[in-house]
Symmetry: D2
Subunit: 106 residues, 4 copies
């Protein structure tokens, strides 16, 4: 893998990890005010995982998925940034980093 691909894959996998953690912690709150955060994080986790896969395997669809992944990461970050929980803040930061890496690939 080229360095810039590895960098994007790593950002996607880190974002996958922190989105899963944030979704899990927010689900446990059973608080309807956190539902948008849960759905955003679950969707973002899946896209990051697939984006890492397509990038790592040099898929002809990697760029198109990176573009979509960047949009979803930014939307997830915007939602997570509204909440003061440590897991939301950590997730938001990972999402912003991943969005930037994905935009560089797209």
């Amino acid at each position: 893998m080229k360095n810039e691909v590895t960098s994007c894959v790593d950002a996607c996998l880190n974002c996958y990890k922190l989105c899963l953690d944030c979704a899990h912690e927010c689900i446990k709150m059973a608080d309807e005010h956190m539902l948008d955060c849960v759905q955003n994080c679950l969707d973002c986790a899946e896209l990051c995982s697939l984006c890492a896969r397509f990038s790592a395997t040099d898929s002809p669809y990697a760029k198109r998925l990176c573009e979509m992944c960047a949009d979803v990461c930014n939307a997830c970050a915007a939602e997570c940034e509204k909440h003061n929980h440590a897991h939301c803040q950590a997730c938001a930061e990972a999402c912003r980093t991943c969005a930037a890496e994905c935009m560089a690939m797209a």
Copy 2:
């Protein structure tokens, strides 16, 4: 694929679909009494999806994963059967069917 493999894969994919639906509906309730149902359904969905993949691609690990999948399906069914919601009941039935197919493969 042999017929019995196709039958197991189909049961896994149906269970994946109904576990995702049940988890999604239960998350939206934001009710702490449904949290065990959410976690069971999310875990069961993932295992069913992977079990379908390993079975469809004749993985040497398919039997071992089928055995684990059957256990998780039965545990998920036991939890879903406690709840009267239509999505929980539909999920429980899919889990029992999937558990039986996976046990036949294991």
Copy 3:
């Protein structure tokens, strides 16, 4: 789930199954003429699986992913239709059906 959503999810999961089978059989041929078929099927399988998930859980990104999934399904079908193997023909048919369902959702 609404009927049209269930119909799309089922088409995606059927396509996932047949793409995995086709990829697996083509990999075993170890024939460089089948490599495009392998990569198309692996990519298509992943997108179908995620498209089923986003549709089943009413994701706000379901429509956009359905549109991408339809494009990838049609490309995969076009490649599989070049090959006379039973698994390629079965995969091509599932891809065309899935593409139509996804376009109806997008």
Copy 4:
């Protein structure tokens, strides 16, 4: 997440990345002597991804999946170690590290 969980999740995600890369490079060789490497890497990638998810979301099935993941990682490493390609060697190393982390969790 506790530190030891993060450490296991990171090892799983790194192994996922290198197994995907190794599988992709080996598929492109279209060499029947690499088929065991391809299947091992594809299976191992999936298990690592799911193991990272179950560990990150504190699933009650995390330990059982970690145990299975460790076994599959060791088998994948044993196969990859037979081949002198840089991607096989990098994958083997990631598999051994992941197996050790997963055993510590199981």
